[in-house]
Amino acid sequence: MPEPELAEPLTEGARILTICNACRYCEGYCAVFPAMERRSHFSPADLNYLANLCHNCAECYYACQYAPPHPFAVNVPKTLTEIRVASYRQYAWPGPAGAWLGTAAFFAGLVIWTIAERGRGAPSNAADFYAVIPHSIMAGISSVFSIMVLGLIAAGAARFWRESNERFSGLLNASVIPQAARDALSLRYLGGDGHGCTYPDEHRSTSRWLLHHATFYGFLLCFASTTIAAVYHYALGRRAPYPYFSLPVVLGTVGGIGLLIGPAGLWRLKQRQDSAMRVREQNQMDRPFIALLFLTSASGLALLALRETAAMRWLLALHLAIVLAFFVTLPYGKFVHAIYRAAALLRYALERSREEKST
């Protein structure tokens, strides 16, 4: 049977996982190795799944008796990273347009918000955002982009799931979702057992685990803040600006601080990452996302701090433009790792439950 033409990282992935599958010393580290052991051949679809299961903690690299300069030259985290980055491009729809879209959205946003602002008179209340940009425009544009972005992310997720040959009903399998959710939300495979992981170098540390939590839960708090503010607006008829100690502002501030510390720390760690595991394409994908997270939070907090000054008008336009750029690039950037990683963990939980039933 002729082998299909494989891209270079996929060839390398199949080569080194054949070595791993004969060794199996690393099977206690994470989900990748037990999932690997269920297979004897590694098709591109298998490799994409395993690559998205990998959290890039690098434990298996430092533990590997076959790591370079050994002639077998096994480097699982790096190879899976290369495969993973390529898989993001493969799943993204309509293709790798993210960076251009983000830049375009940022300038479009600035123009839109500025035009919207120009039509208004001096705000009656110094902190009244809607006097600068009408609520209907803000909510309207956000809704349109949110729906579009959600649709694009769902399209990528559907491609990922279709490639797995799992049924779509598996996504709603109530018996395995709690396990997958726990693994994802606790970052179990990124040192969530309390020992940390070998990132950015060979010495184990919990810093990446903590910083990722600050980023992710900061993001969730900001999301909760926006949602509660919408409830205030539509259900309770309470208009922004909300007092400093109101729920939306407190959640947004705490989340925003998390989104400053987390991304800044992850950026710093990334700079110190062991060069053995570094993949240029991954950094090109990570850095804009980390930067946009940080800038979204920084501009939001600046807006909060200066909302009663004259700077509010252009800070608002800037913040909204950054948010727009952030949203539009979500389906094409690092953000999608959350979707594919969670889906891979769900698939892993499904495979394991099937295996347990069959034994």
Binding site: A22, Y25, E27, A63, Q65, H203
Partner: protein, 473 residues
């Protein structure tokens, strides 16, 4: 045995003049594997200034410990007496019972000590060796264990010198005085108050192996590090250390003949031998492949293959066997007929066909069970296959080429219960040994999975502690 590597003392001092030197310490440890690191940690924790000289570069540090993955320890589930009985059975009594008792007793607390020094454990692997009751598995294997120990040692201020190879040891009246070391090409003289020798056996020294095994040793593959050349062992023996076990004892298994000369490690092993037949270059079977469960028999196959012409053999099976064993790193040779397979192996087609036909005809009906001593056997063959015998009748047919893969050697130095090396009939004053260099005291022959790491850990700790005590005195 001859030893002629010593350079004039003045050469060794050049390194000092060049500004690169290894400072004098209380305890010098020769060898940076499990036993050496346990000795260094325990000496440093006893308050000694410690240095390790490791002949490999950092990437390949740790000798054969980097290829290990578990240690055998006594526990509630595995009583000391059962452990001791297992040891006596495999060694046929060739063990220092008193020292063996010490090692087994101390093995109970070893996992806790290891945890405290950064080693982590995992539930037993899913492989074919069912060892979880008797053995504790290191998370990530032996290299991860070494990484943890090196980190712990650095934290304790232990100085570590890579690419530092001991050339000679100055011993006067059973007292160690200094070692001559070549560090990154520079000869140095290193003094210490005590020396722990933990530099492994000589399994990667092909010339030494050839002295014992003759030319067939040239066809041996070395499963582990190329750095275990037995230099320290040879120096100690030539200085009058009392030997234990025998130079001709070695642990060798049958591994894939396509493996690299050194360091192929675990992935070159083959677990399919008991499931098919094993033939030599003449296309003939030569041993009962189904004699016993594989974990109890795999260690004899290195010697069996070494005794065949050209030190070569093939494990042959049919497609019924695919998926019943952990895949090796190399794909099997494959063919649609036995004759075609024989052609690929370079074996006479007539001979292999006749062997397979004879084997198939001798297979008696039975219930096949690869995980137990089943009832599938042959009758009337020379030799018979006593379990897992099924006719080779379902193409495609497969074969793995086999060569002897040497794992470790048994020759070592005699030690006391305090790990002191016995020289000229009495314990040395400040010279200790740990690990593979003295494992022959306990495991004179035979094999018990995971006991090497137990001996390294327990005796390493004892040697480090005693060396530190000796340095204080």
């Amino acid at each position: 045995m001859r030893f002629s590597l010593a350079l004039p003392a003045s050469c060794y001092d050049r390194g000092l003049l060049a500004g690169e030197s290894i400072p004098d310490v209380d305890v010098l440890v020769a060898g940076g594997g499990n036993a050496g690191l346990c000795a260094a940690l325990s000496a440093a924790e006893s308050g000694a200034r410690v240095a390790i000289v490791e002949c490999a570069p950092k990437d390949f540090r740790g000798g054969n410990s980097r290829h290990t993955r578990n240690l055998r320890r006594a526990s509630e589930a595995y009583p000391e007496d059962e452990y001791f009985d297992d040891l006596c059975r495999v060694t046929g009594g060739e063990t220092d019972q008193q020292l063996a008792r010490v090692v087994i007793r101390e093995s109970r607390s070893a996992p806790e000590w290891m945890l405290n020094h950064g080693v982590r454990f995992q539930p037993s692997l899913r492989g074919t060796l069912h060892l979880d009751r008797t053995n504790a598995f290191f998370l990530g294997g032996g290299k991860a264990l070494l990484n943890a120990y090196y980190t712990a040692a650095e934290r304790l201020g232990v100085r570590i010198y890579y690419e530092a190879e001991v050339q000679d040891i100055e011993i006067r009246h059973r007292r160690f005085e200094a070692t001559r070391v070549i560090w990154r090409g520079e000869p140095l003289l290193v003094r210490a108050r005590a020396l722990v020798a933990a530099a492994g056996g000589f399994e990667s020294n092909l010339e030494w192996l050839e002295e014992i095994w003759g030319e067939s040793a040239r066809n041996f593959l070395v499963r582990g590090t190329p750095f275990n050349r037995g230099k320290v062992l040879r120096v100690l023996l030539s200085n009058g250390a009392q030997p234990v076990s025998h130079a001709a004892q070695c642990h060798a298994v049958a591994i894939d003949a396509r493996s690299p000369r050194y360091d192929g490690g675990i992935v070159t092993r083959l677990d399919c031998l008991p499931l098919g037949i094993v033939v030599n270059q003449c296309g003939e079977r030569f041993y009962d492949e189904g004699e016993d469960l594989w974990p109890k028999r795999y260690a004899i196959w290195g010697r069996l293959v070494a005794e065949q012409p050209g030190q070569m053999a093939w494990s042959v099976f049919d497609s019924k066997t695919v998926g019943l064993f952990i895949p090796s790193v190399y794909p099997p040779l494959q063919a649609h007929s036995i004759r075609e397979l024989a052609l690929k192996l370079g074996v006479s087609g007539d001979a292999l066909e006749s062997t397979v036909a004879g084997f198939n005809g001798a297979v008696r009906p039975g219930v096949f069970n690869p995980n137990a001593l089943d009832s599938c056997r042959t009758v009337g063959l020379q030799p018979d296959k006593t379990h897992w015998a099924r006719a080779l009748d379902t193409p495609p047919y497969f074969a793995y080429p086999l060569r002897p893969g040497i794992t470790f050697t048994y020759l070592g130095v005699k030690v006391t219960d305090n790990a002191e090396i016995v020289m000229q009939g009495a314990p040395a004053v400040n010279l200790f040994a740990a690990g593979e260099m003295m494992a022959g005291n306990i495991l004179g022959r035979g094999y018990l999975a995971g006991i090497g790491m137990t001996i390294g850990t327990v005796c390493g700790r004892i040697a480090g502690r005693e060396a530190a005590r000796c340095a204080r005195a």
